[in-house]
């Protein structure tokens, strides 16, 4: 303090900066604090947003129900289902493309499973396998048309959105005369396939906790929450796998390169077309995984399932810090984004706000989450408003 006031500040500061840059190298290799480094990670902003969302709902009425075990399961399963899509969608957006057809793919995959099981009497595993084969084909076609024609994927997959939804309705109505396919899980020869997608893990633990009186139980002594649903397990598996690929493998580097600057990437030998086609297949497969989970959970398929899920998945990825322009983002961020979206969507109901206003609040929260995210990232990266 005394130095500042006694000496002339301006002349002494300029050479100090110059000297520092000469001696300690320039700012690009300067040491930064651990906190700054943490905040510079792409998912740091969304983490701040997530904590803020948790706190806001903790302060609103209905928090004790929302954060009860049963209440938490409702938003966690919603987040899990969205998160499965968001992980795949994040990879594709980072690679610079969109897939708007995944919502319709959910409906279509469900119809494929439903019809093969109920009409042709196939076992579940074969029907599910066929649905995944269809998904690979759909993803391959989406990708192939996009990279061959250079038509924006936004348009190509918008077309697939209509085609797949139309096929779902057309085929189902032609075969069954209805739009829902019920009784899929009545006496399948392989119930273990269903359990792989709709079962629960740690059921013993939850029953034990129920016996201890820690969690609510039904009249027959079984806990209300039977265990951790498989959808959450799948979410963790998919997110871990996608995160590992993106950060630890050569293919992950290719994804960033393809989205960052495809021309440069191609010039240095990255097979951009192949990367993109594979990622279109990945999103279609993720949609089919979600469809399978929903069909096994509901026991029925419906031509309208998955409507608007494509937008929710993109929203989750963007809330999670993935840039729509490509080349930037993380899978973990997308997972946090899905968690925020699920929490907000269910949380609003628990607050008791009249649901006529639901979409207003949803929109505001999404906007605030993205703004907080952008602000936090800008501060951490040292951007200034003037520059």
């Amino acid at each position: 303090m005394t130095d500042e006031t006694s000496g002339p500040p301006e002349p002494s500061r300029a050479p100090a900066v110059a000297r520092k840059s000469l001696m300690a190298g320039d700012e690009r290799v300067a040491q930064t604090s651990r906190f700054t480094r943490l905040m510079r990670r792409p998912e740091a902003g969304v983490l701040v947003g997530l904590v803020a969302t948790f706190v806001i709902f903790a302060l609103l009425p209905g928090a004790e129900s929302l954060y009860s075990l049963q209440g938490a399961m409702t938003f966690l399963t919603l987040s899990a289902e969205l998160g499965i899509l968001a992980a795949a969608v994040a990879l594709l957006i980072i690679a610079g493309e969109f897939d708007l057809s995944i919502g319709s793919m959910i409906g279509f995959a469900g119809i494929v499973i439903g019809l093969l099981v109920t009409r042709l009497g196939w076992p579940l595993w074969a029907a599910v396998g066929s649905a995944f084969a269809v998904a690979v084909l759909v993803g391959y076609l989406n990708g192939l048309i996009t990279v061959k024609t250079r038509v924006p994927s936004f348009i190509v997959t918008l077309a697939s959105l209509f085609i797949l939804r139309g096929l779902s309705i057309g085929i189902t109505r032609a075969v069954t005369g209805r739009t829902q396919i019920p009784y899929i899980l009545d006496n399948p020869p392989d119930p273990w396939t269903a359990a792989l997608f709709n079962g629960h893990v740690f059921t013993g633990l939850f029953q034990w906790m129920g016996r201890q009186g820690w969690i609510g139980v039904k009249g027959d002594g079984m806990p209300f929450v039977a265990g951790i649903p498989m959808s959450i397990v799948w979410w963790i598996v998919v997110t871990s796998l996608a995160g590992w690929v993106l950060t630890q493998t050569k293919f992950g580097n290719w994804i960033y390169a393809a989205g960052g600057d495809p021309v440069v990437a191609r010039n240095v030998g990255v097979p951009v077309a192949r990367v993109k086609i594979i990622l279109f297949i990945v999103t279609a497969v993720a949609a089919t995984l979600l469809a399978t989970i929903q069909v096994m959970e509901a026991g029925s398929a419906d031509t309208v399932r998955g409507t608007q899920k494509e937008f929710e998945a993109i929203i989750a990825a963007v809330i999670g810090g993935v840039l729509l322009t490509g080349g930037y983002g993380t899978v973990l961020g997308a997972a946090f984004g899905a968690l925020i979206f699920g929490l907000v969507q269910m949380g609003i109901f628990f607050t008791g706000i009249d649901t006529d206003w639901f979409k207003v609040f949803l929109g505001i929260v999404i906007l605030v989450a993205v703004l907080v995210n952008n602000f936090a990232r800008a501060r951490a990266l040292g951007e200034r408003s003037g520059s």
Partner: protein, 322 residues
């Protein structure tokens, strides 16, 4: 654990004292009653906005805390999750609709198992009974109503009908069309389903295309206000009233005006205001006095088929109760 147990008798005694001061039979005061209405249609739909009006009016009249919850787009999986969320808030009663039994069975059973009184409205009467839901408030089955409508048309000599489905995937609308078809079949007629979306321009265009390619169609049957309203406008603009008959399920101001003007044949009223009002009132009674109706309540179908009837109902429809 043991320490907590010791508090239980004291807590029960305290609750008894509180409740004793609140209700005549030692139950809850109406203001403390929490009810969740978790249905498959949200209030942006003309039909469901009347249901919600009934729910809101019942909440005001009884003083209970009532929440109306619905998925943003038609999605039974989402509705099941919302029912689970409602169960987690431990309300005194839940009002549900069952458009897809398989998708909703787990959630509905969870509500019943939790000891919450559940009332089923609008759709899924037999399915609800199978799941242990004690009461249904709504029209007789959509299929039955459709058969009655089909028979009326057949008796009037109208044998070839286009049934407009604006919510493909909703079993209620599928059954409405199926009922019309089977009702017509008794007089030797038949119907064909035209799938449209909820977008008014889309409804008009697709029906226009269908009529252009099916010259022998005598009447158009809309399965709800979402498809009926754009069709009334379309019929007015193209002056098709002399060429085709137009009928619909459900009522709305435009439909009633058209029937009152002698243009539309009839609108089928489900009196869905009562589907919102009655269950909430009944659940409040159940929570405050332990009372419950013992038989399903049928609010429809009511055929509004003369200009006089339509005129009488019109004002109420504008106010959002018909």
């Amino acid at each position: 654990m043991f320490e907590r147990l010791r508090f239980v008798p004291a807590a029960i005694a305290a609750l008894g004292v509180l409740a004793g001061s609140a209700g005549a039979e030692g139950l809850k005061a109406a203001a403390d009653v929490k009810i969740a209405v978790v249905v498959h249609g949200n209030s942006s739909d003309a039909y469901w906005s009347v249901v919600k009006r009934g729910v809101d009016d019942a909440a005001r009249d009884t003083g209970a805390q009532v929440q109306y919850i619905a998925p943003q787009v038609f999605d039974s999986v989402e509705q099941a999750r919302l029912i689970m969320a409602a169960v987690a808030t431990a309300p005194d009663g839940i009002v549900i609709s069952i458009p897809d039994k398989d998708a909703l069975s787990t959630a509905v059973k969870a509500a019943v198992d939790a000891g919450i009184t559940v009332i089923n409205i609008d759709s899924g009467e037999p399915q609800g009974a199978e799941l242990g839901v004690p009461l249904y408030v709504g029209t007789t089955s959509e299929y039955e109503a459709g058969i009655k409508a089909g028979e009326r048309l057949g008796a009037a000599g109208i044998l070839l009908v286009a049934c407009i489905n604006h919510e493909v995937g909703n079993i209620s609308l599928d059954q409405r069309c199926q009922g019309i078809n089977d009702g017509l079949a008794k007089a030797g007629g038949a119907s064909e389903v035209v799938a449209v979306s909820q977008d008014p321009a889309d409804v008009t265009r697709r029906v226009e295309a269908f009529l252009a390619s099916h010259a022998d169609i005598q009447a158009v049957f809309a399965t709800g206000t979402a498809s009926a309203n754009p069709l009334i406008k379309y019929f007015d603009e193209q002056d098709l009233w002399s060429k085709y008959k137009l009928y619909t399920y459900d009522l709305g101001p435009e439909i009633l005006q058209s029937v009152a003007d002698g243009k539309m044949g009839f609108g089928i009223d489900g009196q869905q205001y009562l589907m919102g009002y009655l269950p909430v009132t009944l659940l409040v009674q159940n929570a405050t006095h332990g009372l419950m109706v013992q038989n399903n309540i049928y609010t429809g179908p009511l055929f509004v088929d003369t200009p006089e009837k339509a005129q009488a109902v019109k004002q109420l429809s504008k106010e959002g109760t018909r």
